[in-house]
Symmetry: C2
Subunit: 217 residues, 2 copies
DNA sequence: ACATTAATTTAGGTAAGCCTAAATTAATCA
DNA sequence: TGATTAATTTAGGCTTACCTAAATTAATGT
């Protein structure tokens, strides 16, 4: 029904580059939920326009030009997510789809207004960095919770937003961005965690811990 | 490049019904800036779906079903305009295009959040009524400034938003929604006006006065 | 009333972005 | 190495919302 925009392709391919060693037609098709043949079409088009580098049967790379375009849309997406949470009081597990739609129609002026109202934030509600207007990303240092030793006090600085169900669960136990907690116990059997949030003990499975990123305090 | 959605057709036709005695193919084409033949296509499609009633070579009418759909999108449009002005500090002459884009992708949830944050407003920044969720419009009584006698004190309750240039000009002279002013003089020569806004005398041409709607206070 | 003019519709075509099925290429492993 | 398998591309098609040009219908003025 509704088709995928050029920037949307670039954004997704750019994001895939971070998690896949080789970005292939099938991987893109899978993420965008369209047929591989359709991806080939679009990849050819975007390559001819200089957004991608494509070696047939091999894979795809985002060019500098493509990267600029991707970062622009990522900035809009994350600013809008921030806005949804801070101003419209959405909960952080329900914002991704909304932001997906809006990012494509957000004008420069709008982007600027939102940035102002929010006071020029540098991370979105999941702790992902918001690229600057010039496309610069300030990376912060952190570790997945799985790397943390028993007894350590940590602060949550990022949560993987790929699975809303995770966000929903951890909200319920009082775990948000900036939350401080103590790692009480690492259970050897399956690498799950007992942490203390506020005065309460809470459980986190290994899969959860892998998606929660923290700094030691 | 970007095509016009079903709701957009309905919204525009619905709005044209208020200002034209007969809504014809050419009038629609003109407003939407597409070829008349394209309008015929779409009108046939919307008629077959029960949104419009179409008598070939004659004209078009919005059905009850079409009206419901139009009012839904108008509600979104006006809520969003209000939001742009109240929360994002846009000026009222620069919001229409922004709202145009957003109205189509605004989810129910989003509509509700915005309505809440704004405190359930009943008019948009130009004084146009915001249809309720059920599609009910509260009409208020007013006259165009052209109907007002010399010496009367009036309050602005609506301004025709069809021409951003008008909005821009009258903002400059301090005329906004809810502004109170005194009609000092009606110039017989060309029906233009001298009004007092605050302590200053300001000029309004007849064309301007026709687009400014007021209540006597 | 009828010829002219203007509005509208019909017919046929285009571009985009998707699809499926078939053909091609690359990777794997016996 | 060569055959099998999996990934990718090519070929051909569909739909949608637009277009232009031609045909049709309605409205207008003498």
């Amino acid at each position: 029904m509704s088709s995928i925009s050029v920037e949307n392709y670039l954004k997704n391919i750019y994001e895939l580059e971070a998690s896949e060693k080789k970005v292939t037609t099938n991987i893109i098709a899978d993420k965008l939920k369209i047929a591989p043949a359709s991806v080939t079409d679009m990849v050819k088009k975007l390559s001819s326009k200089g957004f991608l580098r494509h070696v047939p049967y091999k894979g795809v790379e985002v060019t500098e030009k493509g990267k600029r375009s991707a970062l622009k849309i990522i900035r809009k997406h994350r600013l809008w997510e921030m806005f949804l949470v801070e101003v419209l009081h959405f909960s952080w597990d329900k914002i991704d789809d909304e932001a997906e739609a809006f990012e494509h129609i957000m004008s420069e002026r709008m982007e600027q207004k939102i940035d102002e109202v929010l006071g020029h934030p540098v991370v979105d509600p999941h702790g992902d960095p918001i690229p600057s207007k010039k496309g610069i990303i300030r990376h912060i240092e952190y570790d997945p919770l799985t790397k943390v030793e028993e007894g350590t006090v940590v602060q949550v600085v990022r949560v993987n937003d790929a699975h809303p169900e995770l966000l929903e669960y951890i909200s319920k136990i009082g775990l948000f961005l900036k939350t401080k907690m103590t790692v009480l116990q690492r259970i050897k059997f399956d690498n799950s965690f007992i942490v203390k949030i506020g005065s309460k003990k809470q459980f986190l499975s290994q899969r959860m811990a892998e998606s929660i990123f923290v700094q030691r305090v």
